[in-house]
Amino acid sequence: MPSLSHLQRLEAESIHILREVASEFQRPVMLYSIGKDSSVMLRLAQKAFYPGRIPFPLLHIDTTYKFREMIKFRDEQAARLGVKLIVHTNREAIENGANPFVLGTTRCCQLLKTQALLDALREGGFDAAIGGARRDEEKSRAKERVFSVRDTAGQWDPKNQRPELWNLYNSRIRPGESIRVFPLSNWTELDVWQYIHVERIPIVPLYFAKERPMLVRGDSLISTEQPFVPRLPGEEPKLVRCRMRSLGCSPCTGAIRSDADTLPKIIEELISFRRSERENRVIDHDQDGSMELKKREGYF
């Protein structure tokens, strides 16, 4: 009797979830962050509705501080797949000069990501938002449901989540409430890379090693794309062979030194690595348990 491999099982489960969302909600939307997990989600959505089109729009929360290569890639993908792309920015905060060095990373994220996301979901009248978070990313996500209820303020209550049995997802919500859906819940970082490799899924070139101008501060490599990134006295960017392990805003996403310029090399690097992927993101260097605080406030 043939049996499915683990990747085929994960794929079948994710497709089932995407079809449930599309069928049980009035106005679903897929959060598209341009990163590798979003790329996998997009491919799964193509598969779920083939030969039909993806029946929901993509939503990108643009902080205006994303890498330029990300924005270019985003627009190419949306055009190639013929899917509707909504881009939302917290304009008011940007006009008031919000950036991570003025406000601090936590506050900046709160305004440009969390607040912007909640506003975009409200303005769009979306009752379900599909996100690419995985349970293996961070401890507090290990208990997250596949269908996760958010109250009318978009907030998450860890004490009040619905038990989820079998693959029977409860999609009932009251007016004003919404659901976050995580079709990649059971994927690990390695699964995602393997799938990208097997399926030949396009990803942003920033994931591949290349010489890039970077500010070198101890272990941290910081991009100089944004002019407001402050320089230390006499500090000049150096050409460093490096790549991004996860993608975010250029001032807050640390690069890693690497020679991995192909997918097999990235996968090889990953299994020799003994550090979790979020550690490279500057945003998680707050106190212990910071991710859980963000989640309660409505961050993805």
């Binding site: 009797m1 990747l7 089932h16 860890p158 819940s185």
Partner: protein, 547 residues
């Protein structure tokens, strides 16, 4: 001693690694134990010794302020989650963990041992292929150990591992292990569990967890992890009749009409005859479509899109099935686990979600509830949070159901409270009520309920004598055996359609190596049929005598 499978350093070949990765399968297991039996330590040990934790995570638990056992690295902290729980120092929910070895990928549903958290255990167990039950060697079999086994069996987990932990605290004494094994084997038998395995371990010291231990030379089995890596996963859904709940109609243009869904059980090929429920209209599969091209066969749990030969009106909530169809039912009995703070109230309406269909439902009666201390039935009119009992349910529209013991997808349902939208109850359909019978064609569910098995087949090689003995044993217990000497697809579909258990006498290999004596061989095949789930065990989960 066997070489350590995890820590052997060899030159790494990424291409070979990727090729091997793509063949790996996935084992989902759940862990249950009472508080302080060492569950967090065990999971931490599995993750740590299989090198599935990152340095920064280890660093974080080193510096964590709530480190309970100062000094040594407290591995249990690796699996602790939410802030509130960490402050209380306990785990209070289901958490999912992921790890992989060179042989397999694993998903752990980590569920707590508190009495009041039956709900979480049921949740974690619902998708598990295997259950690990922890028993503290010092305390022996406790009421809670029985309860954990009971819930895992109720949720239909086909395989059990019983890990007798803290062997270091009883001087690695084999008598302690053997007496626990003897006592608990009786419990598992009564529950009708298909297959089980006992292992003595020390989660704290690592004995028999990842590596075999020198401290217990009297135990000659593999380590727990070696067992998990190699145990054959009982995937019953692949052997059941074809069931395909329609999730969505895909209609990009006038020329294409496909039905998207995930195969719940069985398999299908283009050209196969199928029936669409509820209309009951018959047609054939025209094609199996996927993004990666059309397929010649689809089987559980693949997500595909089917097209049909005839234009039939099909929508979400309908089910495409093979000739041995499930019963359309509006009344059924089910084992219920109550999940909501608000007790079950027969006076109130509920919504019932079953496969891709949501219907209005009422709980007509609570027949009994299980006393979770004694595991005996007791009369009750209601169920409260974390209560388990048997209920009779009535729906306004028919659902297409199989008994849960035959099919964990089409036998399962949840009840939703329409006022709070909470997921209020989990239902495992146990019996399709009589008033649903007597009309329309005889269904697979009815046949299976009568014979104690769905349609299936088993090979005995050329052992004519074994076939006759097995036929007798099966017949005497009410089954429908059928000896077949020429096995082909026409015979197969006829046997399946009448729900017979075919005993094939031909040169094909039996599923297990058969003993020389015919009696012993027939006996071995009978227990294989039971452990593989093809034949229902004579003990029912809610036997009622208490265990």
């Amino acid at each position: 001693m066997a070489a350590d499978p995890v820590c052997v350093e060899r030159r790494f070949d990424v291409e070979q690694f990727l090729a091997e990765e793509q063949r790996k399968d996935l084992l989902r297991f759940t862990t249950a134990g009472s508080v302080d039996d060492g569950k967090s330590t065990l999971i931490g040990r599995l993750l740590y010794d299989s090198r599935s934790v990152y340095e920064d995570q280890i660093h974080a638990i080193r510096k964590s302020t709530v480190n309970r056992s100062a000094g040594d690295l407290d591995l249990s902290l690796l699996t602790d989650g939410l802030r509130a729980e960490r402050e209380q120092g306990i785990t209070i929910d289901v958490a999912y963990r992921y790890f992989a070895t060179a042989k397999r990928k694993f998903i752990i549903a980590d569920t707590p041992g508190h009495e009041q958290y039956t709900r979480n255990m049921a949740t974690g167990a619902s998708t598990a292929d295997l259950a690990i039950i922890l028993i503290d060697a010092r305390n022996g079999v406790q009421a809670q150990s029985r309860r954990h086994a009971y819930i895992a069996a109720l949720l239909g987990i086909p395989q059990f591992v019983i890990a007798v932990n803290k062997m270091d605290l009883v001087g690695y004494d084999q008598n302690v292990f053997h007496s626990i094994r003897e006592e608990f084997t009786g419990v598992l038998r009564k529950l009708g569990v298909g297959a089980w395995w006992f292992v003595p371990i020390s989660a704290l010291k690592g004995d028999n967890v990842v590596r075999r231990s020198g401290a217990m030379p009297w135990f000659d089995g593999p380590s727990l992890l070696e067992y998990l890596e190699t145990v054959e996963i009982a995937r019953l859904e692949e052997r059941r009749p074809f069931r395909f709940p329609v999730q969505r109609v895909i209609r990009p243009d006038q020329g294409f009409r496909g039905y998207a869904g995930q195969v719940a059980s069985g398999s299908i090929r283009p050209g196969d005859e199928v029936f669409v429920l509820p209309s009951g209209r018959s047609t054939r599969i025209k094609s199996i479509e996927t993004f990666d091209g059309p397929l010649t066969r689809a089987f559980a749990p693949m997500s595909v899109t089917l097209t049909l030969e005839d234009e039939i009106d099909v929508s979400r909530g309908d089910m495409i099935v093979a000739a041995d169809r499930p019963a359309p039912v509006k009344t059924f009995d089910a084992h219920a686990v109550w999940l909501s703070e608000r007790p079950l109230d027969p006076a109130r309406p509920y919504l019932l979600k079953h496969t891709t269909q949501t219907v209005h439902a009422r709980v007509r009666s609570v027949d009994h509830r299980i006393n979770l201390q004694t595991l005996e039935r007791e009369p009750s009119r209601m169920l409260e949070l974390n209560g388990i009992g048997q209920v009779r349910v009535e729906t306004t529209r028919p659902i297409f159901a199989d008994p849960y013991k035959d099919n964990r997808v089409t036998g399962a349902a949840i009840l939703i409270d329409p006022e709070t939208n909470a997921t209020a109850g989990a239902l495992m359909i146990s019996r399709i009520a009589h008033d649903a019978h007597g009309a329309g064609p005889v269904t697979a569910a009815e046949r299976s309920a009568r014979y104690g098995h769905p349609g299936g087949a088993v090979r005995v090689g050329l052992r004519e004598g074994v076939a006759l003995l097995l036929e007798r044993r099966l017949f005497d217990r009410g089954a429908l055996p059928l000896i077949v000497r020429e096995w082909n697809s026409a015979v197969e579909s006829a046997a399946r359609a009448v729900g017979a258990l075919a005993i094939i006498v031909d040169s094909g290999a039996p599923p297990i190596e058969l003993p020389r004596s015919d009696e012993a061989a027939a006996e071995a095949l009978l227990s294989w049929l039971q452990s593989s789930g093809m034949l229902r065990n004579e003990f029912e989960v809610t036997g009622g005598e208490g265990i």
